[in-house]
């Protein structure tokens, strides 16, 4: 099983001139360490207007900075919003290709749409259209990356023939994923041969059915790209400490702050009558956890190495390929503790999930995607 870090980049009030810079600097310090420790992925969200919760509206810039200070860790848009009011698909193709070049072919491209009126309303985008625009974008992107000249006449966007430049460094192109939060999106992912980038904190049992459905459907998929990216990632929190009670208590400070923060925003069905249903997802699970103050929530990677290993083994047994961790919210955990947690996790937990921790960069990349490796990888 692989491990990644997911960045929302949460910045607490009061905001000073330095506060956002401080948080970004800390994130980059974590990324540099994670690369050295053998973590596999960095994912950066694209969120807009979500004050305190996420100040990561330009993930490509953050990921470029990550690329400059790391050697082997893979860098993921987690996700790029496929809504024309946010970005033209041309710009998405250009930006992702550029980052793939700058990172030496380490890019993963998560796609999706937004679940909140706070964001979509801010761009005056219609939530009922976002499934359609996402679908068109993901069908177009691989062609824009791989065809020398490209033209398109579609439903939600179009362009005359042009040469979209640059082209990605990875051949045929970077792996594609889709954020899976709303029920049924795992089917969308499987039918299109996309990786399933889980962004909900459901229990092992809750996610098992989704996973089975994904694995079954993807066998007969029609991939939108030149290869199938059959990988399933899930999201989790991480705080690892030698003392289990202290690990759980500190980890709970993060999970407990997440609830009021995330629920401030207006999800689509609350704002307008829409079929664009937002999954309760992470919030539902965290609310249940909140009913048991101080307890270590099942499936969540907080505590000592033994407990975290035990919980992650459940995900591994279920067939999850990758777990991506949120390390902090509102900076409630001091940076040194976050870094110590990463070190302890890498030393005590990671070996239980890897036979060859010292695997070479090429081997690590090879296993990222069975098809990209087969196609020549980087």
């Amino acid at each position: 099983m692989k491990f990644g870090i997911a960045y929302e980049i949460s910045v607490p009030r009061p905001w000073t001139r330095e506060s956002e810079k401080t948080v970004y600097d800390r994130c980059l310090e974590q990324v540099r360490l994670a690369d050295q420790l053998g973590f596999d992925f960095i994912w950066a969200v694209e969120h807009h207007f979500l004050e305190e919760y996420s100040h990561c509206s330009s993930p490509e810039l953050f990921l470029t900075a990550c690329a400059m200070i790391t050697q082997r860790i893979r860098l993921g848009f987690g996700i790029v919003v496929c809504v024309p009011e946010y970005s033209s698909p041309i710009r998405i193709a250009e930006r992702t290709a550029t980052l793939d070049i700058l990172s030496g072919g380490r890019l993963e491209v998560g796609t999706g749409r937004s679940a909140t009126w706070t964001e979509l309303g801010g761009f005056r985008a219609n939530p009922d259209e976002t499934k359609k625009t996402w679908d068109e974008f993901v069908h177009c992107l691989p062609k824009m990356w791989t065809q020398e000249r490209y033209s398109y006449q579609g439903v939600t966007w179009s362009m005359p023939q042009r040469t979209i430049l640059p082209k990605p460094y990875q051949k045929p192109h970077p792996p594609l994923w889709v954020a899976v939060t709303s029920p049924g999106t795992e089917v969308d992912a499987a039918e299109r041969g996309l990786g399933s980038l889980g962004l909900t904190f459901g229990t092992v049992e809750e996610q098992e059915e989704k996973l089975k459905r994904y694995r079954r459907i993807i066998r007969n998929c029609e991939p939108v790209g030149d290869f199938v990216n059959e990988q399933v990632a899930t999201i989790n929190f991480l705080y690892c400490h030698e003392d289990n009670a202290q690990g759980v208590a500190t980890g709970r400070r993060v999970t407990d702050r997440f609830i009021p923060l995330a629920t401030q925003f207006v999800h689509n069905p609350e704002a307008i009558p829409t079929r664009s249903g937002a999954s309760q997802g992470l919030l539902a699970t965290l609310r249940r956890q909140a009913a048991a103050p101080g307890a270590a929530p099942p499936g969540i990677a907080i505590g000592d190495p033994a407990r975290i290993t035990r919980e992650l083994k459940k995900w591994e047994a279920m067939g999850i390929d990758c777990v991506n961790f949120i390390l902090n919210v509102l900076e409630v955990v001091p940076q040194e503790q976050v870094l110590d947690s990463l070190r302890l996790f890498a030393r005590e937990v990671m070996p239980h999930f890897r036979d060859g921790r010292g695997e070479s960069e090429d081997e690590a990349l090879k296993s990222t995607s069975r098809q990209s490796a087969a196609a020549g990888g980087r």
């Binding site: 629920t263 401030q264 207006v266 704002a271």
Partner: protein, 250 residues
């Protein structure tokens, strides 16, 4: 830092709060109710002053404007118009009732005593035509709220999401101010959407004053439904965060 919370001066606002007679009221069924509701973004910072400290604001801040015709209730026909500021009780959406107006003296009395509605008398009208649905709340001919839904189109009822109300009331037993959550169950028979137009909003009449500034429309819906004003299950201290100050009634 904690998340933002409402900044309403509860003791001042509560001087005119209705008195609620215990929390044991039976549910009311409102058959064939017609409901026009607008959701509208309002100026984000000032709206905090319209939410009690128990609630934290939605982002973006928004209000609901609702006019209901209830032709068949346990006390007969009544019409209700209200403005609510939507916040969060813990993690859940909850709409604080800034002010409500009712055309029936009996209904006003009962809604106040049973669920803590801050009701005042007014003329309330709701007319639903094929092309336009119009609502008006007025006193002595002075309009306080005028709404129009145009470009009416059918909507699947499953897409409607009613929001529970929070009424600030005074408990008759101890005289304390309390926030009463009013859950409304709805079985929709018909639902439509359309474009919204707020023709008139007397902000002072709805106690919004300079803090209730309309910014950007969100949605307009019209529904015919069987509504149930549910038995009170949740109350909370208006001055404490709802996540810690909520009491679940048996």
């Amino acid at each position: 830092m904690p998340p933002r919370y409402g900044k309403l001066d509860v003791s001042d606002w509560g001087k005119s709060a209705p008195t609620i007679n215990g929390y044991r009221t039976e549910p009311w069924k409102l058959n064939g109710a017609r409901l026009l509701e607008f959701r509208y973004e309002v100026d984000d910072g000032p709206a905090d002053a319209l939410l009690p400290p128990a609630l934290h604001p939605a982002m973006p801040a928004y209000a609901t404007f609702t006019v209901m015709d209830s032709p068949d209730s346990p006390i007969g026909r009544f019409m209700l118009g209200e403005v609510r500021i939507v916040g969060r009780a813990g993690g859940r959406p909850a709409a604080f009732v800034a002010a409500s107006f009712c055309d029936s003296e009996v209904a006003s009395r009962e809604l106040s005593a049973r669920w803590g509605y801050p009701v005042k008398p007014a003329d309330v009208k709701l007319t639903a035509q094929h092309f336009v649905i119009a609502a008006r709340v007025s006193t002595n001919g002075h309009p306080m709220l005028e709404l129009e839904l145009r470009n009416r189109r059918p909507l699947p009822a499953v897409h409607l999401q009613p929001l529970p109300s929070m009424n600030l009331a005074r408990n008759s037993e101890n005289g304390n101010l309390v926030l009463v959550q009013v859950d409304i169950d709805a079985v929709f028979a018909q639902s439509d959407g359309g474009s919204e137009r707020v023709i008139k909003l007397d902000r002072d009449a709805f106690r919004g004053a300079e803090n209730l500034r309309l910014m950007s429309p969100m949605s307009a819906t019209f529904a015919v439904a069987e509504l149930t004003l549910a038995r009170i299950q949740l109350i909370c201290d208006p001055e404490s965060p709802a996540e810690s100050g909520t009491i679940y009634l048996d």
